[in-house]
């Protein structure tokens, strides 16, 4: 039983890691008042870029870097349309997802069915003594470096958001941009920055899928992960600390899917689990938001312009 639990948790963490990267990013985006529904598109572009660069250079880190850059650049399209042109953020984000999914298909067509060679994969770190501990070893000390980076990002991003001047600026821009502007905060700058951070992390999350988790390129491989990220951002109540909980919960469901398959349950019906869970989680989170009156950033999704204060 214990062995099973350890095994399940061990599998849930890597499965949840792309979601964690994406959610941490989207939390910053939404905290600054921007809603970016383009996560799915940025993630899948991160996946195809990461894979192709890792494959051609043989260096997984270059792949991750390239994915981060591409994710960031794509997010700037959304930033320009929604911040500078004050366009509808729902539609713009959706368009970005369509664009990303389409472009990834075009870019990835040469890589379908190509496996990533061993040296281009990111593998688990083995820390001498710690990795060999029973239970704790496999549970905490045998993951690949990106898992640890994503976990490290959680307290760092929490600290920046709540304990630094930059964090105060981000939150104030998301709550009340007009006042923040009057206090001398650069509303446009902060919003561009946060949207960019969100794109970078979505790109890295995508690269994790194609370089580490299933080291290959499969068309449409994000399979809705970007949309789960949007739901997790609400579930996390826009706090990086709660993001990790949600991400691993969904990682666990993914593991459960594989575990239940041999029992003769249709894989198609099992595939619906994460999406049904997303709706349930969203219902629970929305209730909590209303009960505790800690809503979404007040200015979320609303464009800001000085003339219309």
């Amino acid at each position: 039983m214990l062995e099973f639990l350890v095994e399940a948790l061990r599998a849930a963490i890597p499965a949840g890691t792309p979601l964690l990267f994406g959610t941490l990013g989207e939390i910053y985006v939404e905290r600054s008042g921007i809603l970016n529904l383009g996560v799915e598109g940025m993630m899948i572009m991160g996946a195809v870029t990461g894979f192709s660069v890792a494959l051609t250079t043989g260096n997984p880190w270059l792949g991750v870097l390239a994915a981060a850059i591409v994710g960031g650049l794509l997010s700037l399209i959304h930033a320009f349309v929604s911040i500078t042109l004050r366009g509808n953020q729902v539609v713009s984000g959706l368009a970005l997802t369509m664009f990303g999914v389409g472009l990834s298909g075009l870019l990835g067509r040469r890589f379908i069915g190509t496996p990533l060679p061993a040296q281009a994969k990111l593998v688990g770190i083995r820390i001498p003594v710690l990795s060999d501990l029973p239970i704790l070893g496999p549970l905490f000390f045998q993951f690949d470096p990106l898992v640890y980076i994503s976990i490290l990002l959680v307290p760092i991003m929490w600290f920046i958001l709540y304990k630094t001047k930059l964090g105060i600026s981000i939150r104030s821009v998301g709550e009340d941009p007009a006042t923040a502007d009057a206090m001398g905060v650069n509303v446009f700058g902060i919003r561009y920055l946060c949207t960019f951070i969100g794109g970078v992390l979505a790109g890295v999350g995508g690269a994790y899928l194609s370089i580490v988790y299933t080291p290959s390129w499969i068309e449409g491989m994000t399979a809705g992960a970007g949309w789960i990220v949007i739901a997790l951002t609400i579930f996390a109540l826009w706090s990086p600390l709660r993001a990790i909980l949600g991400a691993y919960l969904f990682g666990g469901v993914k593991v459960l899917q594989y575990r239940l398959q041999p029992l003769g349950i249709s894989p198609n019906l099992l595939n619906t689990l994460p999406f049904i869970l997303t709706i349930l989680v969203l219902m629970a989170a929305t209730r909590e938001v209303m009960r505790r009156r800690i809503g979404a950033p007040s200015a979320l999704g609303l464009p800001y312009s000085r003339e219309e204060k």
Partner: protein, 359 residues
């Protein structure tokens, strides 16, 4: 010299048309640049798309075939978006409609007379699509759950349910292992214009619905309430317009119409239930752009759905001749939509250019 943006309430008609046209052109231009960068000849690509879609009688008829589901879904989405209800899940509602029609055609325990078969299938499809859409409407109105995510999640769920059925219990006995259901009986097949695949009853239905939807929106009390809710939710609340009623109304219509589109696809084109991508190459998503390009005017949707029907047909031709992967056409959709949203600043603001400096 100084350039400023000034807010305006209502853009004149010519500005609206011009804005859409320019956005469309810029999107096509930017994709041409993208093609060029990837080593594909953009002129050849666009020629392929145009000749494939509007260049022959066959192409035109195929464009019309693909315009039918876009028209039905697009009209529904125009109404939902008018109320600022973000139904992103027309694709799933379409699939549920297809599923319900299949059930009526193949598995209904009551023996239907053949004259009643198609009407019952259409009603069942409408209801199935509507129910699939009412779940997010209720969740949004009662619990304030974000409808963008719920409608979209239900697309994935519907896709997997259809997959489950065509690979499992509904898999046809005579289909040689393909993920198809058995063929519908003749009474459950929508007639077509001979020599084409245009299932004209569905097309006529779509055209009638577009006109009705226009009148609903512009000439009735419900339409007025939908528009007020979309323009200013707070004002609607003060005016005593219940959000629940509006959410249920717009989702009943848009989900139901998407379901009807699904019936048209299985009973008009394929004659059977197939795997989800075989029924719809993303009509429900493309319809979002169809509605947006029409600036949410149901009558204009007639035009834009035909345009995008053509783009889909041309995209297929391009895909085959240049050996491009299936999702490529999504790139067009995304780019066009991005330019449309970005270009809307011209509808809401007037560009004022003043000579001399002035603050």
């Amino acid at each position: 010299m100084q350039i400023r943006l000034e807010r305006r309430l209502l853009a004149p008609g010519w500005v609206r048309i011009l804005t859409s046209a320019i956005s469309l052109l810029l999107a096509l231009l930017s994709i041409a640049v993208a093609f060029y960068i990837f080593g594909l000849d953009p002129l050849f690509a666009y020629k392929k798309i145009f000749i494939g879609s509007f260049g022959s009688l066959y192409g035109l008829s195929e464009s019309l075939v693909k315009a039918i589901p876009l028209l039905l879904c697009g009209v529904g989405l125009a109404i939902a978006f008018k109320a600022q209800f973000w139904n992103i899940g027309a694709e799933g509602q379409l699939l549920m409609g297809a599923l319900a029609a299949t059930w009526v055609a193949l598995f209904c325990p009551i023996e239907l007379p053949s004259w009643a078969m198609l009407p019952v299938m259409f009603i069942a499809g409408f209801l199935a699509g509507a129910i699939w859409a009412l779940i997010p409407a209720l969740l949004r109105a009662k619990l304030r759950v974000n409808e963008v995510i719920t409608t979209l999640m239900l697309v994935y769920v519907a896709t997997e349910i259809v997959n489950y059925l065509v690979y499992g219990p509904w898999k046809g006995a005579r289909e040689w292992g393909f993920p198809y259901s058995d063929r519908f009986p003749d009474s459950a097949i929508i007639p077509v214009i001979s020599g084409t695949r245009i299932h004209y009853p569905t097309l006529i239905l779509g055209l009638v619905v577009a006109v009705l939807a226009y009148f609903l929106l512009m000439r009735t009390k419900w339409g007025y309430e939908i528009r007020v809710t979309g323009d200013n939710p707070r004002a609607a609340e003060y005016a005593g317009i219940p959000y629940l009623r509006i959410a249920l109304l717009v989702m009943l219509i848009s989900g139901g119409l998407a379901g009807v589109a699904g019936v048209g696809e299985v009973a008009g084109i394929h004659g059977r239930l197939r795997y989800p991508q075989g029924i719809s190459p993303g009509y429900g998503f493309t319809a979002i752009i169809v509605a947006w390009l029409a600036q949410l005017n149901p009558l204009v949707v007639i035009l834009t759905s035909f345009l995008f029907g053509g783009l889909l047909v041309g995209g297929d031709a391009l895909q085959v001749s240049m050996n491009l992967p299936v999702p490529t056409i999504q790139m067009f959709n995304g780019a066009i939509l991005l330019f449309l949203v970005g270009g809307e600043i011209l509808l809401r603001y007037r560009i004022v250019i003043r000579k001399g400096s002035q603050t």
